[in-house]
Symmetry: C4
Subunit: 376 residues, 4 copies
Amino acid sequence: MTDSTKISSSSLNRIPAEILCAQDYETLAQRFIDPTHYAYISGGSGKDLTLDANRIAFARRSICPRLLRDVSKGSTALTLAGQPLPHPILLAPVAYQTLAHPLGELETARAAAALQSVMISSTLASNTLEDIAQQAGPQRWFQLYLQPQRKITLDLLRRAEAAGYTAIVLTLDASIQIPSQRALRAQFCMPQHCVAANLTGYEPAPTDTLSHNESRIFQGVMRHAPTQNDIEWLLTQTHLPVWFKGVLHPEDACLLQSLGAQGLVVSNHGGRTLDGAPASLTMLPAIRQAVGCDYPLLFDGGIRSGADIFKAIALGADAILIGRLQLYALSVAGALGVAHMIRTLHEELEATMALAGCATLHDIRATKLLRADDIS
Amino acid sequence: MTDSTKISSSSLNRIPAEILCAQDYETLAQRFIDPTHYAYISGGSGKDLTLDANRIAFARRSICPRLLRDVSKGSTALTLAGQPLPHPILLAPVAYQTLAHPLGELETARAAAALQSVMISSTLASNTLEDIAQQAGPQRWFQLYLQPQRKITLDLLRRAEAAGYTAIVLTLDASIQIPSQRALRAQFCMPQHCVAANLTGYEPAPTDTLSHNESRIFQGVMRHAPTQNDIEWLLTQTHLPVWFKGVLHPEDACLLQSLGAQGLVVSNHGGRTLDGAPASLTMLPAIRQAVGCDYPLLFDGGIRSGADIFKAIALGADAILIGRLQLYALSVAGALGVAHMIRTLHEELEATMALAGCATLHDIRATKLLRADDIS
Amino acid sequence: MTDSTKISSSSLNRIPAEILCAQDYETLAQRFIDPTHYAYISGGSGKDLTLDANRIAFARRSICPRLLRDVSKGSTALTLAGQPLPHPILLAPVAYQTLAHPLGELETARAAAALQSVMISSTLASNTLEDIAQQAGPQRWFQLYLQPQRKITLDLLRRAEAAGYTAIVLTLDASIQIPSQRALRAQFCMPQHCVAANLTGYEPAPTDTLSHNESRIFQGVMRHAPTQNDIEWLLTQTHLPVWFKGVLHPEDACLLQSLGAQGLVVSNHGGRTLDGAPASLTMLPAIRQAVGCDYPLLFDGGIRSGADIFKAIALGADAILIGRLQLYALSVAGALGVAHMIRTLHEELEATMALAGCATLHDIRATKLLRADDIS
Amino acid sequence: MTDSTKISSSSLNRIPAEILCAQDYETLAQRFIDPTHYAYISGGSGKDLTLDANRIAFARRSICPRLLRDVSKGSTALTLAGQPLPHPILLAPVAYQTLAHPLGELETARAAAALQSVMISSTLASNTLEDIAQQAGPQRWFQLYLQPQRKITLDLLRRAEAAGYTAIVLTLDASIQIPSQRALRAQFCMPQHCVAANLTGYEPAPTDTLSHNESRIFQGVMRHAPTQNDIEWLLTQTHLPVWFKGVLHPEDACLLQSLGAQGLVVSNHGGRTLDGAPASLTMLPAIRQAVGCDYPLLFDGGIRSGADIFKAIALGADAILIGRLQLYALSVAGALGVAHMIRTLHEELEATMALAGCATLHDIRATKLLRADDIS
């Protein structure tokens, strides 16, 4: 069931009737993705505590409908760091998309282009950034992981510039990825066809050796964790705006802002790093308050509906990233599925806005959410 | 199972012994209503978040019994906007009642008349307002949806006036109705025999066409959403008192009050519009505080017992509307069922009042509820 | 299975090995009591909301163990309204005890005498107060329901005085008893052998007739609800101290105190009256604060263990009443079971006191409980 | 299944592949320990309320990841009461370890020595303290229960000193141990081969006889409970530093500190004494605040992962004790299992520190945890 041909043949060229809302792709994808791959994609780290927290945080908020508001000129348009966008739905940098569909990121990129959604292409994509760029629309960003060797990092940066990517998103929170126990118990291993296409041409980094007293974590894995020095260096190496992804603490947000970040992505890596980290949504308001009301903030972590997008914007986000739903929709119907998923989310957001009396995203930001169990 | 004959024959002409309390109609109705229709009636919008919130909000409140209070002159009577009523139980404007019983609203109207309960007849009734008026008691109100063409709205108004309806209830919160996913998955579709009888004589509104850049929500569905202008217009077109239904936010309540509303119905449309909206009960106290203690406020959303009615009144309602229970009781035993359901609720309310030491509805309003998990 | 012979033969003359703690009688009793009777006994009113709340309130409190406290002179003794008692465990006035054991209250009374536990004999006992008095110890109290005719109330009072009862407990909170839906659905009806033995000699009260406009609740059932006038009258009719049972609100407590009550029983009738009333334990601290620290307060509602007794005393009770556990133990092993249940509770209380560093009940009252989810 | 040969043969000499995290030993041990023994080991007292509370308290806290922190010199080393330790993971004094493995504490001691973990040997070990000392590393402590006869207590102390134990841990909270109802229902009884090896040479204490009016608890079991006098005496009898274990209340902590304790172990005996006691973690912050920031505090109660260790240290602990996981790992693979369990916890702690930006345990102490459901 894991060979790509099989997945290919089962991917549809129409939207199944049972997709009633964007989140339905989550359920339906289980028919299109190998179970062990699904465990890997859907799982968080460890026992999924943070994965679950991301969803619970949304469920705890409610939106009060409003009456008689004029939304006849309503629109989800925004300007993000100077760029006009028709809606606030971006595609998160999800790695190894051939796990879900044989053409992987190429399909995703076509969907993003069709829906004018920013696609953020991953360093660990299973297609090269150059191939993805050919399918992508003008709004394509490149997600960067710092490599052990700066020359390789630099080469990736140059390639992204050459391929017309318009922004860099440096991920900071994934120095250690603690695998999902569900994935481990399902005995997930990456299939052979699924490689980090951007990196296959580079010679591997020399293996670090540890002395007896050194820690595999502190002196091993963390040796190459991004430092402030790395960031300062990176910012001198490119003319592209640089975003930083994986911010959860207001102090870290302020530091990155002061170093010259174009903006930040509030994220806990979809619950895939520190199991037991708070929900992204929980930390969002304090981060918005710390960076000021005009600073660009993106958000990911648990969004499954237009109402969720509304809530994230109400709590401080300018726009949001879609992670797992992207892969689920991709698995079901390729580019068509991803495009339909984005369009469905978009319309769910519009309906929520209309019912909440918000004609613009700015109106959302001025909306006070209620705790789901508030009783005055 | 969906043809009306079958439902008719299974509707009883006696009250089944298993009805021990008003809420039991909810369970029993499942034997009398086609499962897909039951899914449509019982469902809220989307994932039923608000539907569930409506019930949870009641469960979270408790009522402290009182001793030695003289309730020998106890009564549930009230004066609502100048009209004396023997009890605070009104029938909400539930559409398409032939889904539950072949005679639909005609049976409901007879029950309301017998129990001196205000019946609010829906624009989307499956009987005409004129036919319903013939069965109804003197306290009959007409629920109005603004129509795309003002001349049709006006015609409905004139017909309601002519048929002796004594108040108009304009529903404001249903510009977009997001269907229940349960109903969708049950593949509900309105049976052919079930039509909006009041509207069949009018020519359909011309179809709106959208340009490429227009939103199906903002420039489509919401084009005909009620505006302040519509309300001001409507209030000049009738001598009848006009209530507004679907209010959840205190600011909206104040606006409508200032525009000349006779009173308001605090409601989230039974959890059928914005899924994720707060419980009606959650918002009620703030709305009561906003409009002042003498302004007429009705309430619906989750009431299943006399204790629930007590709680809604304690938190600010003057009277309450019964929605789904109405259809459930109708399906079980027609007019007899609806009448019995109202009488049962009434007696449950009286018993709760007696145990809580309240001889009048005013006494209830002076009662402080406790959070169910309060620990001093 | 409901005939008394059968129950008799299955009642044990030894304590079963599976009784590891007092609460185990709750489970084990299901083997000794007819299921429909068990539903009646174990059920609360309506949907058991208050029944469950009584238990949850205990679970929400925790007791912090203490070290190095000298409890070598530890004792559970107390003086209750001037009477010395070896422990604070009283037997609540549970009606119709032949439901659980063919000899009913006679067995219970023998157990109470053996363990020096105050037995409160019910007006609705299935044995006469005179027969019960012959089995009971010197600490026997009589629970009184006001009868529609004062002369019968007075006769009951005189009989109780003549039979050596030393206090009267007037129950105030049961004007309306809403039956358990579980019991109703189990089609419970009182077996013929089970009668209110104290009342069989009196002529029944004349049936009240209601006019068309009168309420079955307000002008019917509540016609005979106790009033302040009734209480003032009763207090002039007996030299015995009078306790009042069924108090949940601090204002009612103060009123009864001012009228001359010997003391009060904080109680919601075991969750058998107003379904949705708060837990007795929830209301206890406010009542203790209202009546002052020296006024006698008893408590019932949800106690199943010595730790529960500790918690009730810590929150303001002087002593507690055991209701359902009494019947459960009675059903399992008659007088022996009830005695063992009391002794087990007593020892559980002692162990809790020892671990919490309390040598006396006064030490318990000085103990601050924690909310089970307190995090400082 | 309970004879030691059988357990021996099923204990592995390799780490099973399904152990993905330290907590997995909890599940896997069920294949290696007799079910009735497992019930005894895993159970708390009574209904496991406190056992569960210990785990819930951890789940309620979350840890916010941090970015760009330099942890390249990271280390888990600490100095505990003057002694340098490579990590804060100690082995709690778990009694009767031959329940889990035929060699019991001898295997555990070898693991502790290999991982430089302090082993705290129990008075109730199933091997003698002298035999354990031969397997143990230099950091071996002896857990002491005061014996009814001081001469035996003194002899145990002298033997511990002679065998090179470097500290005494006096357990104060186990005067009464209320057995787990799960263990009782599983009909657990200590197998014959499993004895308190340290105590077999002493003549048993004379049986206490109680007069009729004396309480089995207060004048019986508690007769030998530790008093302040006992502690003052003990502290004069040894040159070894003395820790006290079982502290939950800040006032008790201050008293013991003032009497000259080397340090304290915040503990509720793994939920095995007062069922309904608060979680150890709940009480930790108040105790830390009471004793000051430099006083040595150990912690046990519910730790199952490195993230849990992080949380305990953040809330005030200097180091932590592992209880049940110790036995579980012992049952699965003897010394190898225990060593692997410690190493796994250690690495989990390091990974948590790295992701939370903490290079040292002091950094952890400066970290503010969030409530898992905090919403700002």
